[in-house]
Symmetry: C2
Amino acid sequence: MTKTKAGRPRSEKAKQAVLNSTYELLTESGGKKLTIEAIAQKAGVGKPTIYRWWPSLADIVLEAVLNQADVKIPVPPYESLNTTLRQFLRSSMKSINEGDGSNLRYLMSLAQQDESFRDRFRENFVAKRQEILKSILRQAVDANDISSTQDLDMLVDLIFGSMWYRLLIGHGTMDEVFADKLTDIVIKLGNSDEVC
Amino acid sequence: MTKTKAGRPRSEKAKQAVLNSTYELLTESGGKKLTIEAIAQKAGVGKPTIYRWWPSLADIVLEAVLNQADVKIPVPPYESLNTTLRQFLRSSMKSINEGDGSNLRYLMSLAQQDESFRDRFRENFVAKRQEILKSILRQAVDANDISSTQDLDMLVDLIFGSMWYRLLIGHGTMDEVFADKLTDIVIKLGNSDEVC
């Protein structure tokens, strides 16, 4: 796509307006008022433009929620596994409790109904969140807080897996206590190859 | 509900026919041909009878899948955490790979769309599967294979959480290797309070 000098910033601004409007509509109504029409109207962008940028409503939600996650769940500079992972997981729980949990449940549900969306959800959302968590774990290996023989992907599955499980089923709380338990478990597992 | 002497066995038989027919339709078509009509016809049971027994199609699927899980994932008599949990998790992976994975994904997706079904899914399905896994862990505590200070509910969340996560997202395999990794992790965590 070729763009004029003036075109690029304008389209970036419009794209951001679409994402912000989507996120506001999600927050206001729990997704009940969320349609392409409503987003287009709120963002002041034509429907055809929106359809050119995203294959479906679900894909707009995916990007809007990912954007928010990057803002709301900052990755603090690495200090120690104990401090940095705990802080990251506590922010994650907070974001989920403050409304993003229902957005995540909506995305996961759609991913089960549409295989091609599931691929995009895995690649454009889940893989990015996994990479952020894994970067913390990699720094922990560098700092000798996690043994270098540990399977970091498996640790990511344990952490995000149990969080998604509680979120989707609703049998357990998503709070600081849970964030702290997960942190303690990763510390234990991370050190378990050390000679004692 | 009062039942005649002859009525009870007949209705139990009809109920089982509905569950078996549901499971067969799920397996044959991946759920695509699954309607109350198709189930009623295959089972030779009237639609009004089916509606009297189950609030929705999803609830029939829930019970049919739970029934199959009990059959396909036997709980072996407790031997050791290493042997018994490994065997149980390997059977679980096998059942998921042989087709039950898509049924589970269907149920989880519905649970995100309908809050009252989510409650029934949690209570009538998930809680029962959690209880079965927890009974193995409880026997492990009795056999001193897991420290009595361990939070067994948390271990269940780690195991089933990471399994659901891989199943729903599709980023990792559901196989014996994964079953064995999970078993090894539980063994490590279970013993982590012991003085070394």
